[in-house]
């Protein structure tokens, strides 16, 4: 066991520079990400694609067929986790303005694209990757339509080769039916938003405009080019998702009608604090939810104290498709805790496999990359990792091997480097 680890370590060091094309991983406990598991699994990868899955105790293989064979006995194999709706790659130090690249000025910015601002060399990104979060939906913030997000791997040399899907969707910040709050040092009480209907109509009007442009674009070749509306075409075609950021019942109901009015192909609700109260309507309208941060306090004083913890269970019970995301305070840095948020939900009514599905395959379904990502199945991209134990637990999430699109990625980062450096300086453990 120990030997395997050392071997693996050496392998990784070596292959990081000379990537092998044919990799066989054997003897691990496989979590496919679709709910299924295999003990003593065998996973074969050729040219970045998963080509074989089986049981290593019964499946015969020819060593010569593989560039490298890695035994991960006693360890767990997971599909790479996905941090949906995150500013990861767009920010470095929250308090330093020069490092913030996620909030463009303007109200309707569907044409603003996060893909090209994504920094694959971000130190924050490197610390997220090493906990098993291998992909993110790098998402802009601000305004009414913040911009277009992009789906990126966390192991790229530049944004081009990190891109899995450019401009996957636009992000709409639905107005709140409650308003106010003042500024942070002098918050005013919130009250019913009297301009709610007006603000809602602004979005409606913008979509009317965009829809007209889309219709015209189909028929009228002479039509004047509009950079902003051009970015909306995909939403009507179905090439782009529309992410509605909303939590309240009132908002969610209005979004359901809005989506059906504009015949949106892929509407998604991000947040969805109240979504469990509207389960049937969401299911019938086929609108999935990217649930807000599990590790968050209840919205209202009297809400059940575990409301945020059990939202996945409540949505599962209603049959609504959901994924877990982590937007909020310090979200970029905190993306490395995404697995533990899913883990917490397992104490409140969903199984371990369902929990990891909610940060892998189900998220991929929602953001539209499930054909190639999100689970360990034949034909899919080899974007996966090996953990010493249960990756949803702090105690045992210890990632010893990472593959992104079939390429080995580092399992260390500058933080573990500093750990090594200063441990050496401080010397041996002292007695208390």
């Amino acid at each position: 066991m120990k030997l395997t680890f050392i071997l693996t370590f050496i392998f990784v060091q070596f292959i990081y520079f000379a990537q092998p094309a044919k990799i066989l991983i054997i003897d691990g406990f496989l979590h496919k990400g679709n709910g299924e598991t295999i003990d003593h699994a065998l996973v074969g990868i050729k040219n970045g694609i998963i080509t074989e899955i089986g049981n290593s105790l019964v499946t015969r293989f020819n060593k010569a067929d593989w560039d490298t064979i890695i035994s991960v006995e006693g360890k767990h194999i997971y599909p790479g986790f996905i941090a949906a709706n995150s500013t990861l790659g767009l920010t470095e130090i929250d308090a330093v303005r020069a490092t913030r690249d996620f909030n463009e000025t303007g109200e309707f910015n569907p044409h603003v694209r996060s893909q090209i601002a994504f920094n694959p060399e971000s130190k924050v990104v490197s610390t997220v990757l090493t906990n098993g979060v291998l992909v993110c939906q790098s998402t802009p913030r601000g305004g009414i339509i913040s911009g277009s997000s992009a789906i990126m791997t966390l192991n790229g040399w530049n944004w081009e080769d990190a891109t899995i899907l450019a401009d996957d969707g636009i992000h709409v910040n639905w107005p709140s039916s409650l308003q106010g709050g003042g500024w942070w040092a002098e918050p005013a009480p919130k009250k019913t938003n009297e301009n709610y209907q007006i603000q809602k109509n602004e979005i409606d009007a913008f979509f009317e405009l965009a829809q007209a442009y889309f219709e015209g674009h189909n028929k009228d070749k002479e039509m004047k080019f509009d950079q902003r509306l051009e970015a909306m075409i995909g939403c009507f075609k179905g090439a782009k998702r529309v992410y509605f950021h909303a939590d309240e019942m009132q908002q969610i109901l209005d979004i359901i009608s809005f989506s059906s009015k504009f015949k949106l192909k892929f509407p998604v609700i991000v947040g969805g604090y109240d979504a469990h109260l509207l389960g049937k309507r969401l299911k019938d309208s086929n609108i999935p939810i990217l649930i807000r941060r599990i590790h968050s306090l209840p919205e209202n004083e009297d809400d059940p104290i575990d409301q945020s913890f059990k939202l996945p269970y409540l949505l599962k019970k209603e049959g609504v498709l959901f994924g877990i995301q982590n937007a909020g305070d310090m979200e970029a840095m905190n993306a490395r805790n995404l697995p533990f948020q899913a883990g917490t939900a397992t104490a409140y009514g969903i199984t371990e496999e369902e929990a990891l599905q909610s940060i892998s395959l189900d998220v991929c379904k929602i953001i539209g990359i499930d054909k190639k990502y999100g689970s360990i199945e034949i034909g899919k991209s080899a974007t996966l990792f090996v953990s010493e134990g249960n990756a949803l637990e702090m105690k045992t999430n210890n990632v010893s091997l990472i593959l992104v699109n079939g390429e080995f990625a580092p399992t260390t980062n500058f933080q573990s480097d500093l750990f090594q450096k200063y441990s050496k300086k401080l010397g041996a453990k002292k007695q208390n």
Binding site: D94, A95, V124, T192, M249, L297, D302, P304, S423
Partner: protein, 1008 residues
């Protein structure tokens, strides 16, 4: 004091009886010598009510009152048959006649902080304000104590007789009360910026006052001089939230003051359990309006605490009375006189008696003012200030007819002398009609009956229709004017009558009528039948609807009763002892009298009546101790007004009604250090609490806990992230931070020396300085430092400062680069309380690594994992587990970082931190290993009492919902019955972090 009261009485009477100062224009007005109010119902005092009595006044004084008294022949008689006389009410909390804002109250040699202006004297600034006068008069008030409602020490108020048209007549007595509050008001200085700052400032000012009075200080100070002279006045303290009375009372006791507290209307929820206040309470009766709850999406967001308060607020007076707490009433917050009376009647329907309310409006305020001898009731010798109502306003909708103020009438309404209602026969132009007058005597409604005969020419039959027409009637003095339309066989058009009333009861009126054909004609109307006096049995129905119980605290998840300590035996449990025994499986843990009495593999001695809990498959640990928390704090976590604010204390501003207390109990937290924020190098003192949900702030404090103070270094202190405008306060660099500490500690050393010299009689008595007192405590190691810190340079620097002062830094908190200097920390003797994995939120945390806790631990530093965040505070078990992942800590070591180690850092490890006989029974039962993401708390005990029970929590959720449903349907009913409603206002969230400035925080804060 007694002398003062007599003096006041003398001043009061002499002012009013003395000669006019202003010369009369012509001959002085003629006035009757005596006035007798006869046949009246008189509330002489709350305990004495006379029917058909007489009140005799002379000038501005009551001469006698009773049912059979001698009326001098020169007396003018005022008939008050059926009318009710009430002594004028006294308003103690008012700003009547004073401007809304007074630009500067402090000029000249005044106190350094503008919010302390005891020198302000309302009598010197007030003017006649007819509108406010009128409003108070209409509620039945005759006397008001008016002061300038701004600042912490607000100055003196003036006692005013309402309704006078001359300021000299209006002023009864100039300095009649001294006013305080915690609210800084319009003062321009940055200090204080928080409530704890206000408290410290007020205390310092009191010490300055003592110092000024006792020493031969050469500096003159008008504020202190005036304050000194006003200290013996009746004093009032205005509070703005539930716990402020207790906060103020602590100060009152410290400085031997008697303060009367203007409350919030929520006293019913706590005051019955805390009766020993240094003063009376004055309660508002502006009961909250119902919310508009028609929209269920909105209704579900209204906090249950607000709903419950809406329901119970009208019971505040009766609950206080039932608990034998006497109180005065203020109209503060009430705009309409009708609302005032409606609310009084509402409180009667909830069990208040007229006696109690009248006392609260008259004799109680008079007693508070020390003027019981001259005002407050209508016994002989008292001032002649009273109100005459058409009916008893306490029980019926009585109209105020006139206010008599110091013997002078201010009339509001004249009622008709005669009740004209009845059926009449009208002779008009020799034709007979019938009409009826109904409605009320003041507002008559008329209906006339006429006939019209039509002949059908075909059948040659005739038909007579009876037509009833409305008449418009006006009546004043003894003139009646009636208009109606006639359409009968004689006239078609308008008829107008003007008649004079004759007879004692009316009965007949006659005069002239103008007819549709233009002629004037005589008419006479004779009453054929008098209306039966409608017996308006409108005495108040008592409200017998179910009222919710008062919970502790009175909000969602509140306790029905306060948790009590029990004996427990946990059998077959996995016990994390934090002692040399390590983690014991299938162990037995026994709790008795709030302490742990046994921990072991065998069965201990079971106490009588112990609750036996099977711990099979479960884990038992100590309660989590959060070394760095900002929950349960009111009105500001930072006093950011100055670089050193050691004088302020978080313990002064605890708020035990924070729902996060309950939420954290559910996460296994039992104790916490509530720290001041990190906006300045030396912040305020900490509070060490147990999370005793339902108790008062004081009761949450750990008794005899060691003292702590917050210090801070780095970006927050140097205002690095506060924007481009904050670049002038010292320090702006880490270099400056060092100097602030040297300066503070050197000043404290000198202060200690000065006191030392004074004790040795080698010098004058130094001024007592709260800031330097606390800094001295640090120097003499009676107070420990918890220091907010990030980078190695500043950590190193601060240890050097401490070494040079001969002290130790107890704890570095955050300490994210602790791993770089862990060896130096160990050598110095400092502990570290850190985040498990936070970083990237500002520049100084760029080198923060999650291996930090493990690396410091390995060097022998005592390390805790803390939250600094209300959300993380309830998952500290998970945060501890991260050190197993980052650096490979053992489970035992990791667990100690949220239990034993913070207990050590807080010097509470004698009583907390491990499962050891003799220690406090602060215990958590987990359903699985607490270091897993799936672990849930089943039970949380503090001192052997259950404060969280997972099973009970489910019941509480259901109970909350039922209570919400019940009150909401009650609100909807009250709206149906015509009560006004208001729309819901959702309160901003108040989650404090280290660098939250101002009195409130928001959730979007992301720097720490």
């Amino acid at each position: 004091m007694l002398k003062k009261k007599w003096l006041a009485l003398f001043v009061l009477l002499s002012i009013k009886l003395s000669a006019q100062v202003k010369p009369e224009n012509g001959v002085a007005p003629s006035k009757p010598e005596y006035i007798a109010f006869i046949h009246a119902t008189i509330y002489v005092s709350p305990s004495q009510k006379i029917e058909d009595g007489t009140l005799l006044i002379q000038g501005d004084k009551v001469i006698s009152v009773g049912s059979k008294i001698k009326i001098p022949s020169s007396a003018v008689l005022v008939d008050c048959t059926n009318k009710v006389i009430l002594p004028s009410f006294i308003e103690l909390y008012s700003q009547i006649g004073l401007p809304e804002k007074i630009t500067s109250t402090t000029k000249g040699a005044t106190y350094w902080n503008e919010s302390i202006h005891p020198d302000f004297d309302a009598a010197s600034r007030f003017e006649i304000d007819n509108k406010s006068n009128e409003n108070l008069l209409k509620m039945g008030f005759g006397i008001a104590l008016s002061h300038y409602q701004d600042g912490i020490v607000r100055g003196s108020g003036a006692l005013i007789s309402l309704g006078q048209n001359d300021v000299n007549k209006q002023l009864i007595q100039s300095q009649s009360g001294l006013f305080y509050s915690f609210s800084k008001g319009s003062a321009q200085q940055t200090y204080p910026s928080s409530q704890m700052g206000s408290i410290a400032l007020l205390r310092q000012a009191f010490y300055d006052l003592e110092d000024y009075s006792n020493s031969n200080n050469q500096d003159r100070n008008i504020s202190l001089e005036e304050w000194k002279s006003k200290l013996s006045l009746p004093s009032f303290f205005k509070t703005d939230d539930k716990w402020e009375i207790l906060r103020a009372d602590k100060i009152a006791k410290e400085f031997n003051q008697t303060w009367n507290y203007i409350g919030t209307g929520k006293e019913y929820a706590w005051l019955p359990n805390h009766k020993n206040l240094n003063g009376a309470v004055i309660i508002p009766i502006n009961f909250p309006e119902a919310y508009d709850v028609k929209d269920p999406y909105v209704a579900r967001q209204i906090p249950l605490s607000d709903l419950k308060h809406w329901e119970l607020a009208p019971s505040n007076p009766s609950i206080l009375a039932k608990n034998k707490i006497s109180f005065a009433i203020t109209t503060a917050g009430i705009k309409q006189p009708e609302q005032f009376w409606a609310n009084l009647r509402k409180s009667i329907s909830r069990g208040s008696t007229v006696n109690q309310l009248l006392e609260a409006l008259t004799t109680k305020p008079a007693a508070i003012l020390g003027l019981s001898k001259s005002i407050g009731d209508l016994s002989p010798g008292k001032i002649a200030s009273f109100s005459i109502f058409s009916k008893d306003p306490f029980t019926e909708n009585g109209t105020l007819l006139s206010s008599w103020l110091l013997g002078t009438e201010k009339a509001h309404k004249v009622l008709p002398k005669i009740d004209l209602r009845g059926q009449y026969a009208l002779t008009l132009d020799k034709k007979e009609y019938q009409f009826e007058l109904s409605g009320s005597p003041e507002k008559l409604e008329g209906k006339i009956t006429t006939f019209k005969t039509t002949i059908d020419s075909k059948n040659n039959t005739s038909k007579t229709d009876t037509i009833r027409q409305n008449m418009s009637v006006s009546y004043a003095e003894n003139d009646v004017i009636i208009q109606f339309n006639l359409n009968d066989n004689y006239y078609n058009g308008s008829v107008n009558l003007h008649g004079k009333v004759y007879g004692k009861d009316g009965g007949i009126f006659e005069g002239d009528a103008s007819l549709p054909d233009g002629r004037m004609n005589y008419f006479a109307a004779t009453r054929t039948k008098k209306s039966k006096e409608k017996d308006e049995k409108s005495s108040i129905l008592s409200d017998t609807s179910y009222l919710g119980e008062i919970w502790f605290p009175n909000m969602g998840f509140g306790n029905d009763t306060l948790p009590k300590s029990n004996s427990f035996v946990f059998e077959n449990v996995t016990a994390w002892t934090n002692e040399s025994e390590g983690i014991l499986t299938e162990a037995c843990v026994i709790i008795e009298n709030g302490k742990i009495t046994y921990v072991g593999k065998d069965k201990g001695t079971y106490p009588k009546n112990a609750i036996i809990v099977s711990g099979k498959g479960k884990h038992l640990t100590n309660g989590i101790i959060d070394e760095h928390s900002h929950i349960a704090i009111s009105k500001g976590v930072n006093e950011a007004g100055q670089a050193i604010t050691a004088e302020v204390s978080i313990g002064d501003v605890l708020n035990s009604d924070d729902i996060n207390v309950y939420r954290q109990l559910a996460g296994g937290v039992t104790s916490a250090q509530l720290l001041h924020g990190s906006a300045n190098p030396i912040g305020g003192q900490s509070a060490l609490i147990k999370l005793k949900w339902g108790h008062t702030p004081e009761e949450m404090l750990i008794p005899n806990a060691p003292k702590f103070i917050k210090c801070a270094l780095g970006e927050n202190v140097k205002q690095a992230n506060w924007g481009e405008n904050n670049t002038s306060r010292f320090p702006q660099t880490r270099m400056g931070v060092e100097q602030v500490f040297y300066d503070g500690f050197n000043r404290a050393k000198k202060y200690q020396q000065d006191w030392e010299n004074y004790k040795l009689k080698k010098g004058n008595k130094p001024r007592k300085d709260l800031e330097l007192e606390v800094l001295s405590e640090i120097l003499s190691e009676n107070r420990f430092i918890t220091c907010h810190s990030y980078v190695q340079s500043e950590i190193n620097m601060f240890m050097h400062v401490a070494d040079s002062m001969g002290i130790k830094i107890n704890t570095f908190t955050h300490i994210l680069e602790g791993y770089k200097v862990a060896d130096k920390m160990k050598k110095h003797g400092a502990g570290g309380s850190t985040f498990a994995d936070w970083w990237a939120y500002k520049f100084e945390v760029n080198d923060a690594i999650p291996y930090n806790a493990k690396m410091m631990t390995d060097q022998g530093v005592i390390v805790a994992i803390n939250s600094d965040d209300a959300e993380m505070g309830r998952r500290l078990n998970q945060e501890a587990a991260k050190s197993i992942k980052y650096g490979g800590m053992t489970e035992e070591e990791a667990w100690k970082m949220v239990t034993m180690n913070p207990a050590k850092l807080l010097h509470l490890d004698n009583t907390l931190g491990s499962l050891k006989p003799g220690k406090d029974a602060d215990i958590v039962l987990w359903d699985s290993n607490p270091l897993t993401t799936t672990a849930k708390v089943e039970l949380t005990l503090i001192d052997g009492a259950v404060y969280f029970d997972q099973k009970k929590d489910e019941l509480l959720q259901r109970r909350n919902e039922m209570e919400r449903g019940r009150i909401i349907s009650k609100m909807l009913q009250s709206a149906d019955q015509g009560e006004t409603t208001k729309s819901f206002v959702k309160k901003g969230k108040k989650h404090f972090h280290c660098d939250t400035l101002g009195e409130e925080g928001t959730e979007s804060e992301n720097t720490h």
